[in-house]
Symmetry: C2
Subunit: 167 residues, 2 copies
DNA sequence: ATAAACTTTCATTTATTTTTGAAAGTTTAA
DNA sequence: TTAAACTTTCAAAAATAAATGAAAGTTTAT
């Protein structure tokens, strides 16, 4: 396989993966492109390589920066902006985990707490509802706490997890 | 909050969450509904409660069964089919993790292996590509293995993880 | 101040995903 | 068998999400 072909395949695959994870295809593709680029990339280059419009590039780069996994860079003497992706994978995973916890898990926990707190009257139906949502709340809370703890390690958290867990 | 309201809120929230995870809204809503139902639920009831068409209900129930997190049940003397969700949360999480590993991680690993195996010629660009995709392959492989190990525990894997990790 | 170089915004268009509903298929009982 | 009770399928319609591109906005150099 030639380099260009490999690069394209990687970008496409990463993009397809993104859309199964609630991230839009272009956003994931841009991220893939930046991750395998040795040098910072301009918006013009992103548009060119992925064949997308200026607006699309701009909006998705912004979204990636909001996630904290893509950075703007300025080159001295250059007017335009360049972009690089977080390339450290431990760091990348930690940022994604934290962001998703904040955006999705925390709000879900709030709702679970609310709905599991209704006073169940005598019906089996209501008792089961309260029981099940309470279990769900406990489970998700525990999982979120584990995630917190794991990501606190930052460097090499995955390796540390392997070591701890395989014992 | 009244029971009906709480139930509805739960179903809606779970549905919204689903769509951020690449699962369609209705599928997640059906799952939510079944999870908090004490008794097996007929397709008619699913249609009625979620206000969806017969075709939609049928297709999404099928998809949930393909994931192995919803089961068909037959009541003696009843012609129609009833459905229940996996209610054990450890088991549910394990099934989801395994299915996603199979559907998403494994194929991605295959591609990563492929693209990281090109012979990089002298350019910095190509060397960086091979280096980065190799790191990615190693990382994802390690993560997938940890997931495997964790889900082997099945019962109480989360609790066991907490215990192991907090030490 | 002015203009060139560049980025962002957002109404509109385009593409993708989901839903519908009626026809076809299946199972069971008589 | 036949027909009633139920489920599945799938082409078409509807809903949703993403992309475009031109105008508006911003920054920098002169």
């Amino acid at each position: 396989m030639k380099f260009k072909e490999a690069k394209n395949k990687f970008v496409q695959t990463w993009g397809a993966l993104g859309s199964q994870w609630g991230i839009n295809k272009t956003m994931a593709q841009i991220h893939a492109l930046l991750m395998v680029s040795a040098e910072p990339v301009s918006m013009e280059d992103v548009m060119e390589e992925l064949q997308i419009s200026r607006g699309n590039a701009s909006m998705n780069l912004r979204a990636l920066m909001d996630w904290g996994i893509v950075y703007k860079e300025y080159k001295t003497g250059e007017r335009r902006e360049f972009f690089t992706a977080e390339k450290d994978l431990d760091e990348l995973a930690v940022k994604i985990a934290r962001e998703r916890s904040k955006r999705e898990i925390k709000p879900a926990l709030k709702v679970l707490k609310e709905v599991s707190s209704i006073t169940a009257n005598q019906t089996e139906e209501e008792k089961h509802f309260v029981d099940q949502t309470t279990k769900l709340y406990d489970f998700v809370l525990k999982a979120d706490n584990v995630l917190d703890k794991i990501t606190e390690y930052k460097d090499n958290w995955l390796t540390k997890l392997v070591v701890k867990f395989m014992k």
